[in-house]
Symmetry: C2
Subunit: 580 residues, 2 copies
């Protein structure tokens, strides 16, 4: 009995005070061992901040969305300075890079999600999270209107307004069908956890239906034809996962399907993974060829019916249709209706996506920020500002810029216009002074406005919009929460670059993205990775690098332990084929 009550008490203690324990969880597996220490957090600030009417009112921040951008913002925001309210139709954060693994049960859906309320509580905030969808933003009155997305028969109105001092929009993108007929009705997507779960069920449905005794061979083949539209990282990873699932697990349980399963990836460009390095792209194509995954490049899908997918082969202009069992549409990001409406309000009608400046502030609107997939940064061009830069740099108003004058402003220019930095790197120029050399390569003592324009004229060609990745969103969230923490401090002591078109300095440094590389798991325990510094790595070792990076990037120890034990489980028992 003693031992039982010890366990009981230990359970309660561990569970009630996770912060006071350094907990050892040991998985010993076939000689390899993996030791994971649970988060050891100090108790400081874990108690909820109570509203005190006598204190000056804290500024109200409303955050829309709980994806990568939102969660990074919540992770670092100072809850003692702001009254934070979070609105999202999902009460959890999902580790989206593992969604393709969820589709085939390599990792369970629950293992990649973490409740938002856990986050806020752990970070010492009062829990003010509302599971609801923002249906309207009223920027003029600093209000958002929300509606609960729970559709069962619970009592009470699910509609409520929220007032804000600062609004942070991080609602992410939605599926973009490019208005292709039939896509919404007949395709699967891979943006939400539910999507991944539906795909998993659907794959098993295809197999169970295909083996029924009443089907012809042709019908079996059709039902086991899996089509992936979009050869980007998500589509490619799903194709690889599906191939592994089929070969390692399903054909053993559905022996008659051995030779009739077919996986096709349709890509409109000339290569799959075309945002990656060329070496990765061709490694992936070769791997897929060996695996028997068909890659159809240069094809654009024109419509999807309930039985067939129709596409146009670009080179020949031909239209062809193929029957399928399941289609996963994994291409493009669209703008949500609530943001479309908001963009109309603030004069961004012609924009494709919500546009911010380099400080993530929504253009044409005060105190509203947007980050992650729902927004894009409109980087200012140097050439647009070239005259004002020149004027600001030319302190003595001589009409020419000396090397000294140029050097005085170059740091601010480099911060304000990051494309210049990229340009210097692309030209292998170590010293910015080299920009001022004449066409023969001779140093000049000073340049006039025309010479200055000429020197910087090609820099803008280096401008690139940021990819819609978790990495970008997470960095933006962290950046913004840091700005919020120093809002007061930086009002008096601005830390940003010189305002060329105004006076003084910008309050903050603009957001700058740092690329840490990108993975593409290709199945069969192989992966490709683009690492910083133009490094490319492929093969089995890269897959192990992928495992460690993805394990370390988990947002909580709970999900970390679960993801690792899911991998271990798959390794020992294979993937589950139960249709639940």
């Amino acid at each position: 009995m003693r031992v039982f009550s010890f366990f009981n008490r230990a359970s309660r203690v561990l569970h009630d005070y996770p912060s006071c324990s350094k907990l050892l969880v040991l998985f010993t597996l076939s000689g390899g061992s993996l030791v994971a220490y649970s988060e050891s957090q100090s108790d400081i600030g874990t108690h909820s901040v109570e509203h005190n009417q006598k204190e000056p009112r804290k500024k109200r921040v409303v955050l829309l969305g709980t994806g990568w951008a939102g969660i990074s913002f919540l992770k670092d925001i100072d809850y003692s300075m702001y009254d934070v309210q979070v609105v999202s139709p999902r009460n959890y954060f999902a580790f989206t890079p593992l969604l393709p693994s969820v589709t085939c049960g390599t990792v369970e859906a629950r293992s990649i999600v973490e409740p938002i309320r856990n986050f806020i509580k752990k970070r010492g905030g009062e829990i003010r999270f509302w599971e609801a969808e923002c249906v309207k933003i009223d920027a003029a009155n600093r209000k958002v209107f929300c509606r609960s997305n729970i559709d069962n028969n619970l009592v009470g109105s699910g509609e409520f307004p929220l007032e804000y001092d600062y609004l942070v929009i991080a609602t992410g993108g939605q599926v973009n069908t490019f208005n292709t007929p039939g896509v919404m009705e007949h395709c699967h997507f891979l943006k939400e956890v539910e999507d991944a779960q539906k795909i998993r069920d659907s794959v098993i449905d295809c197999f169970e239906k295909a083996v029924l005794p009443s089907l012809s061979e042709e019908e079996r083949k059709t039902n086991l034809h899996f089509v992936i539209v979009g050869g980007g990282p998500t589509g490619v990873e799903f194709a690889a996962e599906l191939h592994d699932f089929v070969q390692e697990d399903l054909v053993k349980l559905y022996p008659m399907t051995q030779d009739i399963v077919k996986i096709t990836v349709i890509q409109s460009g000339d290569h799959i993974l075309n945002t990656f390095d060329e070496r990765i792209s061709s490694f992936a194509e070769q791997k897929f060829q060996r695996d028997g995954i068909e890659v159809q490049t240069g094809c654009r899908v024109v419509s999807v019916s309930d039985k067939e997918i129709t596409m146009k082969v670009k080179s020949k202009g031909e239209i062809c249709s193929v029957p399928y069992g399941m289609v996963v549409w994994s291409t493009g990001i669209g703008t949500r209706p609530v943001l479309r409406d908001f963009m109309d309000q603030i004069g961004q009608t012609k924009r494709r996506v919500l546009t911010t400046d380099e400080w993530l502030r929504v253009k044409g609107c005060e105190n509203v920020y947007a980050l992650g997939d729902c927004a894009t940064i409109d980087q200012r061009k140097i050439m647009e500002d070239i005259s004002t830069i020149f004027k600001a740099a030319d302190k003595d108003n001589s009409g020419t810029l000396t090397v000294k004058e140029f050097q005085d402003v170059i740091d601010d220019i480099l911060i304000r216009y990051p494309q210049l930095d990229l340009y210097l790197k692309s030209k292998h120029l170590r010293d910015v002074k080299d920009l001022l050399k004449d066409s023969q390569g001779n140093e000049r003592k000073e340049v006039d406005i025309e010479g200055f324009k000429l020197a910087l004229s090609h820099a803008d060609s280096q401008m690139k919009s940021l990819p819609a990745t978790a990495q970008v969103a997470a960095q933006q969230g962290t950046y913004l929460s840091k700005c919020f923490s120093r809002m007061e401090k930086c009002k008096n002591n601005p830390e940003g670059p010189l305002r060329f078109r105004g006076s003084g300095r910008h309050q903050f440094l603009p957001f700058r993205y740092k690329h840490f590389g990108q993975f593409a798991p290709l199945g069969g325990e192989q992966a490709a990775a683009e690492l910083p510094g133009d490094w490319v790595s492929t093969g089995h070792s890269t897959q192990w690098l992928w495992y460690s990076v993805y394990a370390s990037k988990q947002v909580s120890w709970r999900t970390r332990v679960l993801v690792i034990s899911d991998w271990t489980r798959r390794f020992i028992f294979g993937r589950d084929s139960s249709r639940i």
Copy 2:
């Protein structure tokens, strides 16, 4: 690189040949350790049996259903003797006693399911499983008609007939609403894995909706009123699980709900757990009272609307309605339409449920067996057969039975009519000869038919129909598969009791249920158990007994490891409140 390729190879080997390895999985947790060896199976018979037209055709067995009865049958059937086809709308077996744990995330749904195809493959059978529903049984032509329950747009007809030599019906029961209006529309159930998953989502919905800023205090209370109809083991366990989930996890994340969550159990009888020993019943009631779970006994639900549940208090005859957030209906078992129709065909129209004899053979129909929740055994009464028994026993046709003659047949009587055994036990009679004593307790040398009738007249009062539990179903499945294995052998050498109403002996011993006890987990790491031999155990130690019994009863090593790691996960991190 070496170490990576070692792991890769090891992974493949382990995965492809699970049977050749004795695999050590070690979870070391805070000093307590648990060692689990993976199933070590011999390779004999793991290869699929190929159809060979030259061999005499194997008898075709069609099994409907993959619950406890079905799976136990599949586990032990000799695949070399029978051509087995399995039809079930679910391609997995679910460990249903853990369903209440799934409703609150103590255990994950995937951890309690095992694909049927895995079973068949592991047991050395050719995989002939069809994910479909049986829609019609045509006993006259020995055929069943099946229809695929996959409702997406895959090609091919999902309808097919199957011919059988033996049909085994193990489709389980369905929800029984007792025709109470509104139950189907507004209540949750707890029979399938999907039901448990829906309940889990719904609980979170209730909490998320209740805390929205737009609700009144009254509305919050309504949404957080959880009603359980039925005070049987399932209902009580769910109430306990829910209480734990709320107190251990949810109130910390939804602090404002602390004092307004209410759980009510409605029971039509006078006590909850009324099939258990009285001591357990009152232990449970006391525990619930301490926990603040309201138990309303003597109440019958008369209707359920979208907002309110209406019941009749039996003692007062009053009707009252209470608003609710969620109702779980956990009472009674009904008959599926396909069996209703089958019963009409075979003349069991007036029966409440499909009826079999003591050998699990469906009455009024050849070569059809029924087991588990979908059937009931119609135990023959002694008094109905008393004259034929007397005649068979009275070998010398003297009109009286000597003690010797009686002793010659008593074993057969005891086997054929198990109620007699129970009667002897209830009367504390050690020797059956005591039955023949006269009313003064004097031994008699012989009895006539009237005396014989008198001696056995009260035995039938001990007849009880078997409860609809996993334990009964599993024992029936095992029993039937053993009969099937010895079908040929026992045709020539019958091993059953004497046929009193015919000649010779019965082919097999009739099915006899052995009760191994029953658990009722009551939350807060406490459980109650009824153990064999009239033992009752309650409290924390019983919960640990429960853990070990349920871990050991898992149908595969995969589910065993998963269930144990789920328990461990809950112990360390609590339950997940993500709404997925």
